[in-house]
Symmetry: C2
Subunit: 485 residues, 2 copies
Amino acid sequence: MSLIETVWSPEQFQELADLWKDILTEHLRCVQDRRGPVLHWSDPQELTRAAAAALRPDKAAGSLTDRFRDLITTMLQSGQNLQHPRYVGHQVPAAVPPAALFDAVGSVTNQVMAIYEMGPWATAVEGALIERLCENIGWSTEQAGGLLTSGGSLANLTALLTARNVRLPDVWERGVPDSAVLVCHADAHYSVSRAAGVLGLGTGQVVRVALDDRRRMDPQHLDRTLQHLHEDGRSVIAVCACACATPIGAFDDLHAVADVCRQHGVWLHVDAAHGGSALMSRQHRWRLQGIDRADSVVWDAHKMLFVPALCAAVLYRDRSRRLETFHQDAPYLFDPSNPGLAEYDSGVATVECTKRALGFGLWGIWSLFGDELFEQMVDRTFERARQLWERLRNAPDFEPLHEPECNIVAFRYRPAGCTEPQQIDRLQYRLRTSLIRSGEFYIVQAVLDDRPVLRACVMNPLTAPNDLDALLDAVRHHAAAVADT
Amino acid sequence: MSLIETVWSPEQFQELADLWKDILTEHLRCVQDRRGPVLHWSDPQELTRAAAAALRPDKAAGSLTDRFRDLITTMLQSGQNLQHPRYVGHQVPAAVPPAALFDAVGSVTNQVMAIYEMGPWATAVEGALIERLCENIGWSTEQAGGLLTSGGSLANLTALLTARNVRLPDVWERGVPDSAVLVCHADAHYSVSRAAGVLGLGTGQVVRVALDDRRRMDPQHLDRTLQHLHEDGRSVIAVCACACATPIGAFDDLHAVADVCRQHGVWLHVDAAHGGSALMSRQHRWRLQGIDRADSVVWDAHKMLFVPALCAAVLYRDRSRRLETFHQDAPYLFDPSNPGLAEYDSGVATVECTKRALGFGLWGIWSLFGDELFEQMVDRTFERARQLWERLRNAPDFEPLHEPECNIVAFRYRPAGCTEPQQIDRLQYRLRTSLIRSGEFYIVQAVLDDRPVLRACVMNPLTAPNDLDALLDAVRHHAAAVADT
């Protein structure tokens, strides 16, 4: 008897989906009520063994439905709970739950893209979203354009590949000349310097621009850097600015940076993976003034537009740049008998050939709830970060390290009597490990000026003011616990 | 009144998920019964306008539930139906429906990876899957390892980046020397030659090896090619073989290719994105004999393991190679205080920083149904392709172009009286366009020896023998229709 008919049975799908819905609903309820841990910490080897054991199923061990329930339950009891209001960690959000349902329409039907005819609706949705994102940047939707891709790192790589090819017209066919160099913000995400390694420049050809006292790119230093590079005969493929940079969420002065780039005739790339979404907020969009002068922008919807990962946009002020990223055709994909359709073939501009319908979640919640939802989520989480900062400022045993510009707050815990730098540094690491493994909160660490710091990022609009009070208490509690050991 | 509480309400999630489940179940039933078209063809501009209009919702236009139903219905009535048994097109499958439910657990909870603590369960699942894939290749799971990434093209890029860095130890920091060259199968997927453009070698540094009469890489020609490149002082970063190649699904003789690579000391990369899954079939795994001698292998689970896109594996015979892909750290990600955990930090080896939990769908159905499901799906679809080929052979007006080695069949339609090459070529394009826009079937085109051909790939185990008869009839019918115009 073939398994195939069982597996594809609509009735069985319905039964499993019904169970799925109830388990997930109860999970959301439980997590929102702060029952259970944020992170389920386990030893990685043991957990991998458990996941491996499941792959050799004993199919006599229960009905299909029972085994399905057990598997889903295991998944929920072994992971990280981004839906928990006390997750204040890496820049990955509590996703808007209905967005996952729209996304999963794509999974059941396996909607993909590459050429228009493989995913007409996925292509249309992506086109509509790109248009709106460009509009929010302040670009003419006649001229601007872009694409969605599998994450911010791949998005940065794609944009910088385009910039490289535009700056060095022979590079695609002939390889990278020694003169090529990439200029970036000193706090740029690691994917930017990695891109220099990937794209064949070499990471030694990355020049970092100094920061001002708010960790923003210093435009005067950028100017001098570009001047020196020009005198040395180097070819600058791009300047990468940040809106905002990862460590403390600092937004560059994009007008000042754009002025310098324009003067030197250099491609301006803005990594707005995190901060781009502030454009949806009337209160905060001023932080991105000047972004419309960029040549390329990266904006992750799976960060501050609160959709499930991954949904990253690469946006070009001049949409025709999309065609310079790759100079290639694949006859079995791009139909030479229908050249007009090539404009709608996503594969010409993305690293992915077959690409998941990345826009369904964003399109769905935007269509259900409108712009307002995004504005509210940005305003709420930015406000919470400010409230956290105020609490840290008022607590004598905490040291906030900057005034927050968005939903990111970096700080140190410095209890009385802890004065040696090494002692302070070690405490940050140790208390964080203790805290996150307890499941009470999830926060991250960063390194600022070669010293470890704690970092909270409010990625869930359900995080409440009293969660912030509880965070300070939990930090104190775990610091005391590790000090004793 | 804030939208945030509405949007995150578990009760509302439950109500929408209930509706979602019923709509999707009815969709599966309808499509499996062959009611409705395979592809819903629409003009791309009109469709994009429709998708864009939805993004400016009139929230007074109905209850949230009604508007959700309308949006989902629109999605289902405007896309490509890979679940339709008459989809026999690009190498993207009818996904196993329960796989989508496991995948969507990840979407609701937004499980991601980058460092172990961000996704302990996602990491464990990926580790367990990689182990089983390596085991199926015939590798020691002590030594071998790898990662999942967002698609076969990104997987090829990742593996070739690793190969480049291994061959040229200074390249990561210092850039690509002029001597670097990439050797590949003449029918290699476009992502392979694109990789040379991306990685800074230049596509002019791609050397294609001649094919034998079955479109397999010719090992003698490979030997001579490597000899000449050596004499010219070139540095070969890798030889890319195919298992199988896209156009007709030809599997290279991997033992013969591996012999030549070993003799020349060159990295062997096998693109087994499509054919790797034949390893799950006792009947067909012989086609991949020798794959265990590769240095790297790409194997897409979102092709012949029938999970939703994207889930591509990059596998290394020596797992430590993973760490040569990128030579970098990001202090806020990779915790220096816990160096032992770095082995479990997925981000050290993937282009993605934040990565979706790509393995949930595969892990779920493997755990529910065991190895047998994959074997049955491979055997069934390979058998259907053979049945299609037999029908084409027995039909005087069809010209099958090769004996199928898997589930791919390339052919021409040549009715009586159609004898001029140009006339034949034009007919293939025109009849295909007519056929796919009718929604009766979805097939693709390829170019073989500079001439267009038709290509069917059986990507749905529910495709029945009488669908194959109907395909021949539909091709005849549309050929007659376009001949009249």
